[in-house]
Symmetry: C2
Amino acid sequence: MPTPLDFYFDFSSPYGYLASTRIDALAAKYGREVIWRPILLGVIFKQTGAAPLTQVPLKGEYSRRDFARTARLFGVPFAMPAKFPIPAQAPSRAVLWARTQDPARSRALATALYRAYFVDGVEISVPENTAAVAAKLGHDPVAVRAALDDPAVKQALVTENEAAMRRGVFGSPFVFVDDEPFWGSDRLDQIEKWLATGGF
Amino acid sequence: MPTPLDFYFDFSSPYGYLASTRIDALAAKYGREVIWRPILLGVIFKQTGAAPLTQVPLKGEYSRRDFARTARLFGVPFAMPAKFPIPAQAPSRAVLWARTQDPARSRALATALYRAYFVDGVEISVPENTAAVAAKLGHDPVAVRAALDDPAVKQALVTENEAAMRRGVFGSPFVFVDDEPFWGSDRLDQIEKWLATGGF
């Protein structure tokens, strides 16, 4: 069984959302699974000194245009949320909680949460909203809501984030193919070439 | 005559070098010219608060790997210079000086200067080295060396840089197709699609 790809993403990252719409199909084409790993870029940015893209002068305006343009190129729906960026603890914890139960359902939940935020404008940072998205997929909303405050689930996210940083993750999306790191939704073509050739 | 593309680049930018190896052929395919516009990112970064890529924690190490990997993907030679980043006044002024005389020769000079730095490791921030590169293309090295200290040439670079910032340029490479901005060597595919379709 070949090593799964590690797909690190922040729920508040437009480029993470864009990559999330393609990563599974891309990996499957080369017989690979994907482990979806939610992270909190805000915590990582405190270490690296980076700022959210949209808050950087000049770059901020450009990036908003580029999010929408790249979404059109990808052929996926996208609407810049009114509140942006958001702290992503609630959706990230929900996904990690679901992963311990069933990886496939966890991935479906992550996809639904990303769509809720970047297509429907649902403020998924609000625990009740994350639970409501999960409920639509058949999860028990009371169990999800409780998981968001569960110390073990909280710790799982802290641990995931620390492991990501130790591995060199500084942005979203961030993908490892075996040990090769790729940052950005604009590296999907390089990821594909790497998968096809085993490295170049 | 369709509007030329504006190609903004910093001589100390690896991604600028990579894009420079393709931008003319890409534009020509759609009947467009390219105006090569050297800028000083260091001056722009003072306004935007950005730092050179390689000096950002985590991102720095990743970017060095990505420069080389992307160069292999592009099929162009690349060697990370020992001294990096460098102030790019000398090569930028040389290119602007040559542009007032002959745009085609100016472009050839820019290409040669980029190669000197990112392939042969020549420290083109040293005025004498920039003049030597120009001399190999048939320019009078004494005239080039004098141009680098010419107040009018210096002012031309300041003016170019200020105009770039007013236009929203915050990185390198940065390309305008008509008024549509594209940042990064990883936007060449979007530039091509924009040229082919007139916008998407």
